[in-house]
């Protein structure tokens, strides 16, 4: 009772973190992804594009493109409109304009594994196989499983003009090109110089340097410093880091969705998921 009274007061004063109960405005834009899918990098790219005069770092990123989960209601209300915010939420009907970043789940799980060690959420000797099983069950995240998150957005919004799907792998391979798509989606005029500058300021080397100088910033503070936040920044790391049974487990569960997104399976024959039929129907839309 007392606890709820205090929480109630915090609510009335706007000091609570609304998170999923955020009051959404019609002109809000959301940069959404499952955790460890390149959201921070994309955020930096977009912020650099929108604020060319102010090089983005871990100290000012939360002002330029705030993270939904990190701000109180009052702070969120003070963000200049139109607000561009980062989020990891699975489908939320109120998010009207969404940039969704998807990444090969085999790389996501490797990245999350290292991130969990960094945050001391698992012991150093925790096996990656064990971690993959928890990951597949959706037990490593408050944002659903990887497929809950991805499929809930694709099933509802993939044909919508207010939804932009980005693959992290394409962003890596053709950063400028993909960023151009983002700019036109946001209605931002982007000259080749501006694009080049944004890309340059967000190179993996540059990002690592920024992490080194802003280690006290919100994103990375209170964590082990020997494991970096900005890690490999490449795709396909799973090929060397994931043991074969772990790959098989991931592909058996999510093979249909991975194939649909263009992630080639190592063992396609093993994919026997009973719900694939419906997911494929929704994803492929009415034409096929």
């Amino acid at each position: 009772m007392m606890q709820r009274l205090i929480r109630g007061m915090r609510r009335a004063l706007g000091l609570h973190h609304p998170g999923r109960n955020l009051e959404v405005w019609t002109d809000d834009v959301f940069i959404v992804s499952y955790p460890k899918s390149g959201n921070t990098w994309t955020r930096f790219l977009i912020a650099n594009l929108l604020h060319p005069k102010e090089p983005v770092n871990f100290g000012n990123i939360d002002r330029l493109i705030p993270e939904l989960a990190g701000l109180t209601k009052r702070q969120l209300e003070r963000v200049p409109r139109p607000r561009i915010m980062k989020s990891h939420e699975y489908f939320d009907a109120r998010f009207r304009k969404v940039i969704y970043i998807v990444r090969d789940p085999r790389d996501v799980v490797v990245s999350q594994f290292h991130f969990f060690r960094k945050r001391r959420r698992i012991a150093d000797d925790y096996s990656i196989e064990q971690f993959v099983s928890r990951f597949v069950a959706g037990a490593t995240s408050d944002y659903g499983s990887w497929s809950d998150n991805v499929a809930s957005w694709l099933a509802t919004r993939q044909n919508s003009p207010s939804f932009l799907l980005l693959r992290y792998e394409d962003m890596l391979a053709r950063t400028g090109e993909e960023l151009t798509r983002v700019a036109s989606f946001l209605g931002v005029r982007a000259t080749p110089d501006l694009l080049a500058q944004a890309v340059e300021r967000c190179s993996a080397d540059q990002m690592r340097k920024l992490e080194g100088t802003n280690a006290t910033a919100m994103v990375v503070k209170d964590m082990r410093q020997d494991i970096p936040f900005v890690r490999a920044a490449k795709s396909g790391g799973w090929r060397t880091e994931l043991p074969e049974p772990a790959i098989a487990e991931l592909e058996a569960r999510w093979g249909h969705l991975m194939t649909y997104l263009g992630y080639e399976l190592l063992s396609p024959a093993r994919t026997t998921n009973s719900d694939s039929r419906f997911v494929e129907t929704i994803l492929n839309g009415p034409s096929r």
Binding site: D148, F163, L164, L283, G285
Partner: protein, 291 residues
């Protein structure tokens, strides 16, 4: 300010509506559907099945299978586990076990129209065609549940095929109630004899529910203070849309959601709908990206 204090107190006392902030427990089971899809009927069927000794009414249904969107956090907290909860939410990954009821969106739209008039959410003379347009494009201000396709699509895409998810079509429930209810009973782990099933079906008939609504509708949380000249219990049939919806409204629904409807076994009435969508899908970003 007064409003603020009232809100603080309401929250402190746990009187705030649970809704999407409901504290979910690992042993909870949910009866989920889009509104106007047979959720209340299913609730009665299940409650009558689980409590054969107790006649289920609008007076005790909120205790037996509470409505998370109508009841307070405190009320929900006091229900002993394992709880059986009614909800209209689109996909929520915290729901451990879900019975999902789906209904032909053409019937849902037609039924929702009457419901919105009952709730005074729309003018009594709002044209049905305009209403269906708002229904399809997610412009119903009264509905925090997403569109029909968002609600059905998120649940199906994330959960269909899992042992913890059971999909029931309202139309199948109408066509062979005992057979579908038996599936539900098995899903809930209840051993139901044919006699018990039959009794639950009888006690939950549309006539029975209409009678109960007449007697208790004024007190039930869902229908209290709403227009009593439009009943909450609607036609209780499948295919009413054929005689109610104008053709343009049918086209609107089918061109937006035809692919999902087909997958669920709802036959489309228009072919134009199909070809329109083909063009749309061809220009879709994702279609180009992933070959």
């Amino acid at each position: 300010m007064i409003y603020g204090i009232r809100r603080v107190l309401k929250y402190a006392l746990g009187r705030d509506i649970a809704g999407r902030t409901l504290a979910v427990r690992p042993d909870d089971t949910f009866i989920v559907s889009y509104p106007r899809s047979g959720n209340t009927w299913t609730r009665f069927l299940v409650a009558n099945l689980l409590h054969p000794g107790e006649q289920v009414t609008f007076a005790n249904i909120e205790r037996l299978i509470p409505d998370a969107e109508a009841q307070s956090s405190r009320y929900m907290k006091r229900i002993p586990g394992p709880r059986l909860i009614k909800s209209h939410q689109y996909f929520d990954h915290r729901y451990p076990k879900v019975l999902y009821i789906v209904r032909d969106p053409r019937d849902v739209g037609a039924s929702y129209y009457n419901f919105s008039r009952k709730y005074r959410h729309i003018e009594d003379n709002c044209p049905l065609e305009r209403y269906i347009g708002d229904f399809v494009h997610g412009r119903l201000s009264s509905s925090p549940w997403g569109t029909w396709a968002e609600n059905v699509g998120t649940w199906m895409a994330a959960r269909n095929g899992r042992p913890t998810f059971l999909l029931v079509r309202y139309e199948d429930l109408i066509a062979d109630t005992p057979a579908e209810l038996e599936k539900v009973a098995r899903f809930f782990g209840v051993d139901a004899s044919p006699g018990r099933l039959r009794q639950a079906v009888e006690n939950s008939s549309a006539d029975q529910l209409r009678e109960l609504e007449k007697r208790e509708g004024g007190e039930w949380v869902t229908t209290k203070n709403k227009r009593s000249d439009i009943p909450f219990i609607g036609s209780a049939m499948a295919g009413k849309w054929k005689s109610v919806l104008p053709e343009s409204a049918v086209v609107e629904i089918e061109s937006a959601w035809g692919h999902i409807m087909t997958q669920l076994g709802y036959q489309l009435a228009t072919r134009t709908a199909e070809s329109e969508r083909t063009q749309l899908a061809d220009t879709a970003v994702i279609g180009k990206q992933v070959e």
